[in-house]
Amino acid sequence: MADVGLAPFQILAAFLFACGVACFITKRNAIGLLMGVELVLNAANLNLVAAARFVPGLRIEGQVFAIIVIVLAAAEAAVALAIFLNFYNNHATVDVDAANDLKG
């Protein structure tokens, strides 16, 4: 993998990140939003693992953090889904634009 280098992975991760952000902005469905979050987290993870591969001091740290992120992402997905279900129960929709209770 040495001849690929770090940069392509970073670019890929950046693309995934941008896609995730685009998901946030464009999707009105709450689940879609959640998918965006997954994409963003994965982008970060990809960066971490690539760094573990290419930076000598991070061989183990990169992976460890990636694992932690995966775990937390799973937990976050669970909680987010729970929140959405609750929201759906209350509002009968998953349209996030309807979730404006925080409006000032």
Binding site: A7, F15, C23, T26, N29, M35, N45, A52, A74
Partner: protein, 182 residues
């Protein structure tokens, strides 16, 4: 162009295409399928990078767990009138431009940063054994250990799961009940 490069290009193209699919598809279900592709692509990337354990974990936890959870979520909530939930063209343009701007910046910074070359030609990273040892507090050759983060994450997970269970328990408000029945 060596084989790994070609392999990487293929994987990267697949992942990119899937990620675009996630963003662009109208239906949530389709998005979920596209997300599956993207996640698998990333897992393959991990394999390419030599992090087999992570790749496996990615496949198991994400593809097997998180995505299934999401599909469940889609199925539970996907019964109301869907017509209202449409993204306006303006939002498409806005989202697209913002995302591409962000992408451009990130790429700029990635390329500007110093590009280190891999230390050794060993194509594998430390596997499950060393990682597990690190999590359990066994220091490696440089003395790093991750017992405390591990504990924190564990507790965190526990809390989160309890929270999820609490949030998700059925608790319909009377008003909502009337609405849904009516």
């Amino acid at each position: 162009m060596s084989f790994p490069v070609i392999l990487f290009l293929i994987v990267a193209a697949t992942t990119t295409f899937s990620a675009l699919g996630v963003v662009l598809s109208r239906s949530v279900v389709r998005s979920a399928v596209w997300l599956l592709g993207a996640l698998i692509g990333i897992a393959v990337c991990y394999f390419l990078l030599g992090a087999e354990f992570l790749g496996a974990a990615q496949l198991i936890v994400y593809v097997g767990g998180t995505l299934v959870l999401m599909v469940f979520g889609v199925m539970i909530t996907n019964q109301g009138p869907f017509a209202g939930i449409h993204t306006k063209p303006v939002e498409w343009i806005l989202g697209g431009s913002v995302a591409s701007l962000l992408f451009a910046f990130l790429v700029t910074f990635s390329l500007r940063a110093a590009q280190p070359s891999p230390v050794s030609n060993v194509d594998t990273l430390p596997s499950a054994g060393p990682i597990g040892a690190a999590f359990l507090g066994v220091p490696d050759e440089r003395g790093t250990a991750f017992l405390l983060p591990f504990e924190i994450v564990s507790i965190h997970l526990l809390v989160v799961l309890v929270a999820a269970a609490y949030l998700a328990r059925a608790k319909r408000r009377p008003a909502a009940k009337v609405e849904s029945h009516g």
